[in-house]
Symmetry: C2
Subunit: 198 residues, 2 copies
């Protein structure tokens, strides 16, 4: 029985990761996109249970204590975490899973589920990233500088990822993520158990 492929996606803050993911899911509605829990307040337009599960710090802490997270991390003052049970269940059923996680969380997933593949999405250039963050108009200039510093630090972690996708255009980046999903499914260590009689 074919197990699902787990693909971890990280990216510099403001790189347009959510848009890329939305486009990937449009092409592959069979893929389960794992919705993270967070204690940060929703941005305008974000929907609970779609973008994130928005929960309180108290609730988050309780789940940490009960060991319910595959990974969790604090990032720019807020908690982000991924539920373990749901993901294992999907993979066992043969469903491919996409995880949107920042770099600390991705490191923990690699540790706990070494069969996962990981992708880091980068902007075409650092200047472009600054422009996009300012263009979004949701953050103060101080917050933007904080995000850019974080992006610089995160860039040092890129080497631990299996793949790098440059978000020059959303369509191109999404096509690359889709190709990576397909290629991962073809990897010998996964397929060798499935082929018989050859």
């Amino acid at each position: 029985m074919r197990k699902g492929t787990l693909l971890v996606l990280s990216g510099s803050s403001g790189v347009g990761k959510s848009t890329v993911i939305a486009q990937v899911l449009e092409h592959r509605p069979d893929v389960y996109f794992s919705v993270s829990c967070t204690t940060r307040p929703p941005r305008p337009g974000e929907v609970d249970g779609v973008n994130y599960y928005f929960i309180s710090r108290e609730e988050f802490q309780g789940r940490i204590d009960r060991g319910e997270f595959l990974e969790y991390a604090e990032y720019v003052g807020n908690y982000y975490g991924t539920s373990m049970t749901v993901i294992r269940e999907k993979l066992e059923k043969g469903v491919d899973v996409l995880l949107d996680i920042e770099v600390q969380g991705a490191a923990k997933v690699r540790e706990k589920l070494p069969e996962a593949a990981s992708v880091f999405i980068v902007p075409p250039s650092f200047e472009e990233l600054a422009n996009r963050l300012r263009g979004r108009g949701t953050d103060s200039e101080e917050k933007i500088r904080q995000r850019l510093d974080t992006a610089r630090r995160e860039a040092k972690e890129i080497k631990y990822y299996d793949y790098i996708v440059v978000n020059d255009t959303v369509e191109h980046a999404a096509q690359e993520v889709l190709a990576i999903l397909t290629a991962q499914d073809c990897r010998t260590q996964r397929r060798i158990d499935q082929i018989e009689g050859v």
Copy 2:
């Protein structure tokens, strides 16, 4: 400067590898398909310089002696070989290269060019392979049995390949090879030198 990706394709004899490759090249006319040299006589419809360079045993031996092959091997009584110079030149220019090689040759390529990725194309089942070989109508029953024995031996080498593609339909197999080509291009060790300023 982006270097080309080298993808090695092997497959059980009669699995329909040439048809899959033709379809891949139709989608990606920018990819250079390395034409091998062989001492075996052309099959009906095969064209010199397209399917193979058909050369004499004497000429082949001369090229071996001058070290002109990336790999060469004897297979069912005939020589097959790949020219080193052309491939290096294409890769340096940033052109992706597809190599159609049997298992012994693929092992040598992995040794000499470890950055190459390799794909093994398998039939949906062994019975299906036998049917396809008989349906082709170009080989005697003895030759077919010889090919099936070779296919059984080759199957033991599959584990050394990076990817396995099942040729259930040509379109599906070609899509998987195309995805693998794209994914290989996204691999971190390749891209990390290309991204700057992030």
